[in-house]
Amino acid sequence: MNRRESLKAIGLTTLSTGLLLGACKTDTDPTAKAVDNTSLESTPGLQEFEVDRVKKLNSEQFFTPHELLTITVLADIIIPKDEVSGSASDAKVTDFIEFIVKDIPEHQVPMRGGLKWLDLQCLNRFNNSFTASTEAQQLQLVNEIAYPLKAKAEMQQGVVFFNRMRSLTASGFYTTKIGIQDIGYKGNAPGKWEGVPADVLAQYNLQNI
């Protein structure tokens, strides 16, 4: 098979990557007869426990509606809409965070506790929960926990929480269509790698390396 035939075989001339099916198989699975003990009907490329795990996690709810609202407000403070792309909530980052804390339980206590810490700070300062505080009040608090090297010692728990929240927000945002378009990743598409473009080589003076 040459490259053009390969690409045709996997239907990539149309870039319908969701529909990739057995590429090189021309006959009806010659392996089936020669292989014992295999459920060939299983979900391609997934182990049974992996399928079950996702089903189970999707049937559970970890965060309360109030927590989810707080996460949404915070995520949009971290990644707001700008002239290039939409906000964290446009990319449904909250849904991702709800899933990932169930999938990686070590996130659960720090996230739940951190959200509570945030609400208590606001309650003491502004007599309101974080989400019910004014935008200016929210930003005042976030400013105190968003810069690890200059944050005050008594804000350290908030800093640690915000680091986690910021990482999860970036993970959730840049792994969506919106985020990938924003960051400008051009790959995951078949082609031919011919090396660094000439204008880029010239830009960095690398023509002779």
Binding site: M1, L12, C24, V35, G45, D182
Partner: protein
Amino acid sequence: MSDLQIKKTATTYDVVIVGSGAGGGMAGYVLANAGIKVLMLEAGPFFDPAKDAKQLQWPWESPRRGASTTRPFGDFDASYGGWELEGEPYTTKDKTEFAWFRSRMLGGRTNHWGRISLRMGPLDFKPKDGLTDDWPITYDELKPFYDKIDRLIGIYGTSEGIESEPDGIFLPPPKPRLNELFIKRAAAKAGVSVIAGRGSVLTEALPGNKDRGACFFCGQCGRGCKIYGDFSASSCLVIPAIKTGNLKVITNAMVREVLTSNEGMATGVSYVDKTDGQEYQINAKTVILGASACESARILLNSKSKSHPGGLANNSGLVGKYLHDSTGASMGGFIPQLMDRKRYNEDGVGSVHIYSPWWLDNKNLDFPRGYHIEYGGGMHMPSYGFGGAVPTMNGLVPGRDGKMKDAGGFGASLKDDYRRFYGTQVGMAGRGTAIARKDNYCEIDPSVVDKYGIPVLRFHYKWSNEEVKQAKHMQETFKSIMHEMGAVVTSKVHGPENNYGLEAPGKIIHEVGTVRMGDNVKTSALNKWCQAHDCKNLFVVDAAPFVQQGDKNATWTILALSMRTAEYIIDQKKKQNI
């Protein structure tokens, strides 16, 4: 009354092979193509990359966005299993930190590997360092098999004429990416040579092969390739062998032991079927183990009988001993010059585009042997963890206005930073020779069994000064290349307190040496054909027979040795010696 019974078949196979990875797969391929009836037992499920690979999926197609919850190398990685398997423990003693990666599936660990395909050189087989042991074979004896494997499987690279890094029969290598050109320029200034990578990826159609497609440069070999454009034992060896009609695979078959006759000859194997929990016995005239270095040692040590009271192939008492993994240490950082770089597709291939073969003379160094360096970095597809370092990096260099700012942040300015820093990162990892030592070993834990009732392995492994000094040298080299590149180091800088970042043994997943070959029956378990000294119809074809690994990744040598052993078996069968 129990319903436990052992199911025996009347069939006697010519050959039974345990394991379907590089070693087992190659032996099965050669034997089946020679018309020999082969049964292959694989401890995990069937896996065909054409159907099962997650190639070209987008991060949002994984609910965990590629996080490593169920697979150590992420949700899109092809390999099942990992450092821990449910119900299949291993233990350690004497404060050993050993990590054992197991991938129970068709193709074994060839599903996840980096496709870096290096030959060992003449001095790797016959070392002159006064410390490491000779192999019973020379490079020249193995060279014809390396050549055949290059042609059969396909490998890219460049002919360099470096004696310790023998050239092969190469397809054209992929051109370096931008970050790699920065590395190449800086390494030259630091006195480190960089050459084109050597990987088993079909950068062009493989002459004479109609079943495999040429690479279309998605850089995702680790996910498995739907058009078989890279090497996996499943796509390149086992599935083609099945198509000969001479090889049958039983999946989910967890081998317990090799069965022997009263005379001490191998008669077959017993296994537990993971799907029905029943016990089975297979008869075969020849038994080949390719279960991985440690798993093959485990099977042999568990195969105790009257004629082999210390385990099979273990008259020397050396099965499990001389366990060694490659050394590994790494450093990461970013290149400020690359901020706000132009976007284009630079996925390339899923193996290394460049690397540094060992370039120094040990006469001037305080450690034996050496290491090679693998490099990475660039504009990768985002997945879980993306951008995690940006809130640190943005405090290390001036912002757009030329002023330093505080690390961290949020909002429009942070969002801009994610863009600015994208694709600026570089990483380098050393992979070096660890010394094969008798006192680094795996053995049967006398008190622990797995969920199938099979006694498990217990590991004892200590690094020594040679390896620690090598890691120290790696760190110094990395630092000088980073410096010449104008890069900012962001990974932890390691010192003597943690062996200069030397990874725990096992972590590099190059463990070898547990059933070593040799001419002397007292100091080796196998002869130079990987045939057991004390059981002539038993062979081992994974990395267990390695006497002493060079700094080169093991796979290409496993393939060459396995092919050589399989051809020897064909010859011996013709002569009716086995």
